[in-house]
Amino acid sequence: MKFSCDSCGKKYATADDPAPGRVYKIKCKACGHLIVVKASAGGAPAVPHHEPPTPPPPAPPEIPLEIGAPEREVPPPWPNEMRARSAEPTAHVAMPAPEEQTPQPGDGGYVDLFSDTGASPLSSILFAGIPWEIGLAETQQTLVLNDLRSRIWVQTDGQLKTGRDVVIGAILGADEFGFSTAPLVVEGCIMMRKCHLNTCPVGIATQDPVLRRKFEGKPEHVVNYFFFVAEEARELMAGLGVRTMNELIGHTELLDMRKGVEHWKAKGLDFSRVFKMPRMPADVARFHCETQDHGLAKALDNRLIELAAPALERGEKVAIEMPIRNINRTVGTMLSGRIAARYGHEGLPDETIHLRFAGSAGQSLGAFLARGVWIDLIGDTNDYCGKGLSGGRISVQPSPKFRGEPTENIITGNVVLYGAIAGEAYFRGVAGERFAVRNSGAGAVVEGVGDHGCEYMTGGTVVVLGGTGRNFAAGMSGGIAYVLDQQGEFARRCNAAMVELEPLLAEAEQPARLARELWHLGEADEAIVRRLIERHVRFTGSRRGAEVLERWREYRPRFVKVFPKEYRRALGELAAAQRKVAA
C-alpha cells in the first residue's frame, strides 16, 4: 500500500493493505506531521529504496617528509626508530594493547581520532593484547639502561580516560599520552561496534552525508573533556608534590604499590619488575630532553644538490660521478625534493641529471626520485630501492669484476619500488621479496624475483626475465606483469586469487584475441615487453635481455601475462563509460 504525507508529500509504502476500518499511523519523517491512513489504496508494494552513496575514500593525511622538505621543523613520522611506542621495548610496530589507536604524525601535526580495534565486536578483542603499563615500563627501563631515553618521545595509549591514567603513565615513563575511545565517546560515540559497516547511527564512523547529519559532537566537548583530564592530573601532581611533568616521568617511587598489590585480586602477582627503575647515574635522562641529530648535514644528497645546481636552476644537463656506500641512504631523495619544489611533479626533462654511482648503495636508493634524474648504479643496492619512484629512472648493473650469472644473483633488496607511481627501473640481477609491491605506475624490468612479487600492485608494468618465488601477484588489482616462464613452473607459484594467466600474444594476433579497450597502456603487449627489454639492455647492458630479444621468436611464447581480474573489469567499465559519454 502506498501513501504520502498530506503535509509535505513525502512518499511511504507498506507491504499490506489494511482491512476496512483499520488505520495505520505514521509520523512523517520529513515534517513531523502525523499521517493517518485508512483502507486500502491498491498498488504493488514498493519500499523507498535509496542506497546510501558510496563514501569517497578519505584523503591520505599529509605526512611532511623532513628529508624532502628540510625547511619545516617537523619530527619524522612514525614508524621510525626515533619514536618509540610504549607497546613494546623495541622501537617498532607491534601494538599489544587492544584499544590502541593508529599512530599520529605527532606534534606539529594534527590529532586524528581513529576508532580501530576499539570498535571491534567484543568477542573479537577480548583477551587480545596486554596492558599498556607493562609495555611502557619495559620501554622506559630499556631506553634508560641504554642511555637512549633523552632523545626519544615515549608515547603511551590504551583506554586512557582520566588524569589519574595520565599521571600513572608519566610515572611509568611516558612523555605523551594518546586518547581515542574517551574523546570519541565525548563526541557522541556509543560504542555500538559496527564501524566497519558504514552505518554509524551517531554519524561518527562514516562520511556518508545522511549519517553525518546525526553527528552531534562539538570540538568544544572534546576540549572541555581534556581540560578536566588536565585539571585532575594537576591535582594529583600537586598531591605528589610535583610541579612539572618532567619531575614525574620515570619516578616510580611515587607509586604506592603496596595498597595495590595487597588487594585480594592481586594475590600471587608480582609487579616488582614493572615498577622497577634501573639504577643509572643521575645524569642519564629519564625523559625526552634532547633533539636527535639525524646527521642530515652529512647526507650525500647535499653534495649532489650542490653539483646539480646548473640543472636545478637552468635545466642544463649535468653528469655526476661518484662512489656510493651503504651509509648513504635515500640518495636522490633530497635532490628530488629540490626539483619538485621548483618544477612540481613534472620535474625536469629525462636524463637532465645523470648520476653515475659505483658501489653498494644504502637503503631507499632513489626514493621518490623525480623525473629528470637518472640514477645509474654499477654495484648493488639494499632494500627499498626506488620506493615511491616519481618519474625518475634507476638502472642497476653488477660491477664488471663480478663473475657470477646475474639471473642467479641478487642485486637489489626487498620491497623495491614500494608504492612507485611513475618512472622506470632496470635491474640486471635478481630482486628480493615483494618486488614492486603497491606499484601504481612505474615500469620495471628485473631478472628474477623472490616471494610475493608484484604484491598489491595497482598499476604500471613489470617484466621478469627469470624465476619468481611463491605467492606472486597476491592482492594484485592493476597493472600487468610479464613473466618469462622457462621452466613452466610459474602457474604453481602465482597466487591466482586476483589474476588470470594468459599467453603473451604476438602483436599481429592481439586485435583478434583481445578487445582493444582491454589493452594495457593502449599498446600491444608484445610491443610493451620488447620496448622495456630494449631499454633494459640499453641502460644495464643486460646479456639476458639481449639474448631474449635476439631469439624473440623462441622466447615470446614462454612469457606469461599476469592480468588482474579487477584491472580487466576496470578497463571495461572505463571504456563503457567513455562510450556512454560519446553517445
Partner: protein, 485 residues
C-alpha cells in the same frame, strides 16, 4: 540483524489498529499483528549492534537482534525458538509490555526505534497459528513437589520452568480463574483472556496442576470472588519441598482526604476486574459502572489509563485523568538513552478521549446524599523535587465516579505473616537476586518472585523473576540446575 542499511531505507511501522471511535464500542483487542511482509521490513531496520543495548534494556534479555534477523529472513520457526528461549509468554508482552527494549534501541537516540514489540507480537502469534507452540513436558520426573502461590505472570513463568525441568508443580490462585492481574486487572481490550487459557492448557499438558479459589493467608480476593477456600500454611510447608510466593503487590495506595468515605470513590482494582468478569460472561457482577457519569481517574500511570479506557467504553459522560507529578517532557527521542526515560506517553486509552492534567493534588471529595459529586483539587508547583500548592489555584470538578489508580504500595501482608517471611524496608518479601541463594526468603524453603518481591512492576519483570526464581528453586532442590538464567 536484517539489512545493514535497513534503518536508512525503511520507516518504523506501527501495528494497524482500529480508530478510537470504532474501538470504544467493544472490549476486544484492536491491534492487529504485522503481516509477514511488514514484519520482514521492520526486522530489516535492526542494526545488529555490536553491543545490543536492547538486550540489556529488556528485563528478560530477549535475543532481539537474533530474531529480528530471523524474521527478516522469514525463518519464523527459528524465530519462535529464539524468542521462547528467554520469554515464556511472548503473546502477553507482545501486547502489553511498555517495551523498555525500544527505549534502549540505538535508533531511539535520533530516530524511531526498531519495532521490537511488534516483531515479537508477530512471531508468537504466527507460531501459535502454525501450531509450533507445543507443550514441553519433562522427560524425567524429579519426585519433588513445588507449590506456587499466585498465578500471575511470575507464578506462571516459575511454574512452567519448574514443570519443564521435572518437578511436580501445583499453582494456587485465590481467584476463580488463572492469571492474576493478567486476567483481573488488565482490561480485555489490552489483552484478551483466551490467550491465558491457551497457555494454561499448555502448562497442564506439561504437568502443572492448577487450583483456583484457594487463598493463603486471608488476602482480600479479587473484586467479586467470595468463594476462596483457605490453604493452611503449615500443611503447605509440610507437603511441598519448596514454596514460591508470587502473589503480587496488590495493596493500593489510598488517598485519605476529607470525603474519602463517600460512595462512588473506588480503587481501580475494585473497578477494572468487574469488567473482566462481565466480558467473561459472569452473572451477578457488582453493579459499578461509569456510564453517564463524570469520571475522575486519579493517577496518571498504566492503571489510570486502563480506567480511562474502561470508563469510555462504559459510556462515561466525561473522563478526566489527574496526576500529581508535573507533566513530563514531550520528546520523541530518548533523552535518558539507554535507560527508561520520563517522557510524555499517550496511551491508546488516552486517544479514546480524556482530559489530562498534571501537578494536581486532590484536597477533598464533596458529596451529596452520601455519594461523591465533585472533587476539590489544587494546582502544584514543583521546585527542586518538592511540591508547593499554588495559592488561589483551587478548583472544583464534577465527579460522579472517582477511580483511585495511584499505584500499589506492596503485597498484602497476611500471606507473608502466615509463612513467616521477613519484609524489606518497602514492605516487600525480602529476597535477593544473587546468583547463590537468590529469591530465597527468610523462611526455609520459601521463595519469592515478581511484584511480591520487587514491589509493583511490569509483566516482563515478573516473567524474568519467575524464570530466575525457578532456577533458584531447582538448584535448591537438586543441588544444581540446568534452567537458564
Amino acid at each position: 540483524m536484517g539489512k545493514v542499511t535497513g534503518f536508512l531505507e525503511y520507516e518504523r511501522l506501527e501495528e494497524a489498529h482500529e480508530t478510537p471511535e470504532a474501538r470504544k464500542k467493544h472490549y476486544r483487542e484492536f491491534y492487529a499483528r504485522l503481516s509477514d511482509e511488514d514484519a520482514k521490513i521492520q526486522g530489516a531496520r535492526c542494526m545488529d549492534c555490536g553491543i545490543p543495548f536492547c538486550m540489556q534494556g529488556c528485563p528478560v534479555n530477549n535475543l532481539i537482534p537474533d530474531w529480528n534477523d530471523l524474521v527478516y529472513r522469514q525463518d519464523w520457526k527459528a524465530a519462535i525458538e529464539a524468542l521462547h528461549s528467554t520469554n515464556n509468554f511472548p503473546e502477553f508482552t507482545g501486547r502489553i509490555c511498555p517495551a523498555p527494549c525500544e527505549e534502549a534501541c540505538v535508533l531511539r537516540i535520533n530516530e524511531d526505534p526498531v519495532g521490537i514489540k511488534s516483531i515479537e507480537h508477530a512471531i508468537i502469534d504466527r507460531a501459535w497459528d502454525e501450531g509450533w507452540v507445543a507443550p514441553r513436558p519433562a522427560a524425567h520426573r524429579s519426585g519433588k513437589k513445588v507449590a506456587v502461590i499466585g498465578s500471575g505472570p511470575a507464578g506462571l513463568a516459575c511454574a512452567q520452568q519448574l514443570a519443564r525441568t521435572g518437578h511436580a508443580v501445583t499453582v494456587f490462585e485465590k481467584n476463580d480463574r488463572i492469571g492474576g492481574l493478567l486476567r483481573y486487572g488488565i482490561p480485555d481490550f489490552k489483552m484478551e483472556k483466551w490467550l491465558i487459557d491457551r497457555r494454561v492448557d499448555q502448562m497442564r499438558a506439561e504437568g502443572v496442576e492448577f487450583q483456583v479459589n484457594r487463598v493463603v493467608g486471608g488476602a482480600p480476593v479479587g473484586a467479586g470472588n467470595a468463594q476462596a477456600r483457605p490453604v493452611d500454611p503449615k500443611k503447605l510447608l509440610a507437603e511441598y519441598d519448596a514454596v514460591v510466593l508470587a502473589g503480587g503487590a496488590e495493596a493500593p495506595r489510598d488517598l485519605p482526604v476529607p470525603g474519602r468515605e463517600l460512595a462512588g470513590i473506588e480503587f481501580a482494582m475494585d473497578f477494572l476486574p468487574l469488567q473482566n468478569r462481565r466480558v467473561a460472561g459472569d452473572r451477578n457482577v457488582k453493579d459499578l459502572w461509569a456510564s453517564g457519569k463524570d469520571v475522575v481517574v486519579i493517577g496518571g500511570g498504566d492503571t489510570g489509563s486502563d480506567c480511562v479506557g474502561t470508563s469510555n467504553r462504559h459510556g462515561a459522560k466525561s473522563v478526566a485523568n489527574f496526576e500529581l507529578l508535573p507533566m513530563p517532557p514531550d520528546v520523541e527521542r530518548n533523552p535518558a538513552w539507554p535507560y527508561w526515560p520520563t517522557r510524555l506517553r499517550t496511551s491508546s486509552s488516552h486517544e479514546e478521549g480524556v482530559a489530562r492534567d498534571w501537578s494536581i493534588a486532590t484536597k477533598a471529595f464533596l458529596g451529596e446524599n452520601g455519594s461523591v459529586r465533585a472533587i476539590r483539587a489544587v494546582r502544584l508547583e514543583w521546585k527542586d523535587g518538592k511540591p508547593a500548592e499554588i495559592a488561589g489555584s483551587e478548583f472544583e470538578m464534577p465527579a460522579g465516579l472517582v477511580l483511585l489508580a495511584m499505584g500499589f504500595v506492596g503485597p498484602y501482608s497476611s500471606i507473608l505473616e502466615a509463612l513467616g517471611v521477613a519484609r524489606d524496608a518497602r514492605g516487600n518479601a525480602q529476597a535477593s537476586t544473587e546468583a547463590a541463594g537468590g529469591y530465597a526468603t527468610s523462611a526455609p524453603k520459601v521463595f519469592a518472585a515478581g511484584d511480591m518481591r520487587r514491589g509493583q512492576s511490569l509483566v516482563v519483570w515478573a516473567i524474568r523473576e519467575g524464570r530466575q526464581c525457578a532456577r533458584a528453586v531447582d538448584e535448591f532442590l537438586m543441588g544444581a540446575s540446568e534452567l537458564p538464567r
